[in-house]
């Protein structure tokens, strides 16, 4: 579900489509998504944008239908410089996400606990800041592993 291989720190991309391409390629290379996934996410982002103005800073959650997914995973990119994403539910509100959570969800109902924890992460200013300011991918992995998968905090 969460792998250090699917996390990029200081991701350099020229626009939202490039960010999707780079994060999606990570997922494709490890076999968790199908060949059609990247182009499907790109197309979907144009029609149904996924930028979100979180309390901490703007984020984006590009994703697509589960038919393009082999097994659920989340790729995370902390951008070196924000790129423009359109706000979810709008056609013209431009956001500047600093962290991108690219979702590959096989079965949303089965993954509902993960999605719930992910939403809590988006709503937690401090935690989101800690993802952005992490020293490296290992630190990001540890934050996500603890807070999204519930490992290592003894509460789950």
């Amino acid at each position: 579900m969460i792998s250090e291989n699917h996390i990029i720190k200081d991701l350099e991309c020229k626009d939202s489509q490039d960010a999707i391409e780079k994060l999606g390629t990570l997922l494709y290379n490890s076999g968790v998504v199908k060949e059609t996934y990247v182009s499907a996410v790109k197309e979907r982002e144009k029609i149904y944008p996924t930028g979100l103005p979180a309390d901490a800073f703007d984020i984006a959650i590009p994703h697509t239908d589960s038919i393009h997914v082999n097994s659920s995973a989340i790729a995370v990119g902390v951008l070196k410089k924000p790129v423009e994403f359109t706000q979810m539910g709008s056609n013209d509100i431009v956001l500047h996400p600093q962290v991108i959570f690219m979702l590959a969800i096989n079965d949303p109902h089965e993954q509902i606990n993960i999605l719930k924890r992910l939403m809590s992460l988006f709503q937690n200013k401090e935690l989101l800041e800690s993802v952005k300011n992490a020293e490296g991918t290992k630190e990001i992995y540890e934050i996500l592993n603890k807070n999204i998968l519930g490992n290592g905090d003894g509460n789950d």
Binding site: R44, I47, Y48, T50, L52, P53, A54, D55, I61, H63, T64, D65, S66, Q87, M88, G89, S90, N91, L103, I105, P108, H109, I112, L115, K116, L118, M119, F122, Q123
Partner: protein, 101 residues
Amino acid sequence: MEMIKILSVCGSGVVTSSMVANKLVELFEEKGIEAEAVESNPSEMENYISRDKYDLIAYASPIPDNFGLPAFSAMGLITGMGEEEFMEEALNALRKSGKIE
């Protein structure tokens, strides 16, 4: 009290709408109101609404029509910055339609 039925709409009708659906059921539960949410994409909305009776639409992508139902943007439920506003509007609309007291 009758159960509140919500149609949760997002672009793919799966990922974002599942997040919203789940969150809404929890938020209504906190208010002591039993709610059920069904996920849809914008183009399937009409089918769902013609088959079943819904009390509320929550949308995370533009919708073609509100089909005569109270409809509110659910984006704030995902970021958490608009949760109270959403619930206030939703509860007002449900009171107006006589669904809750």
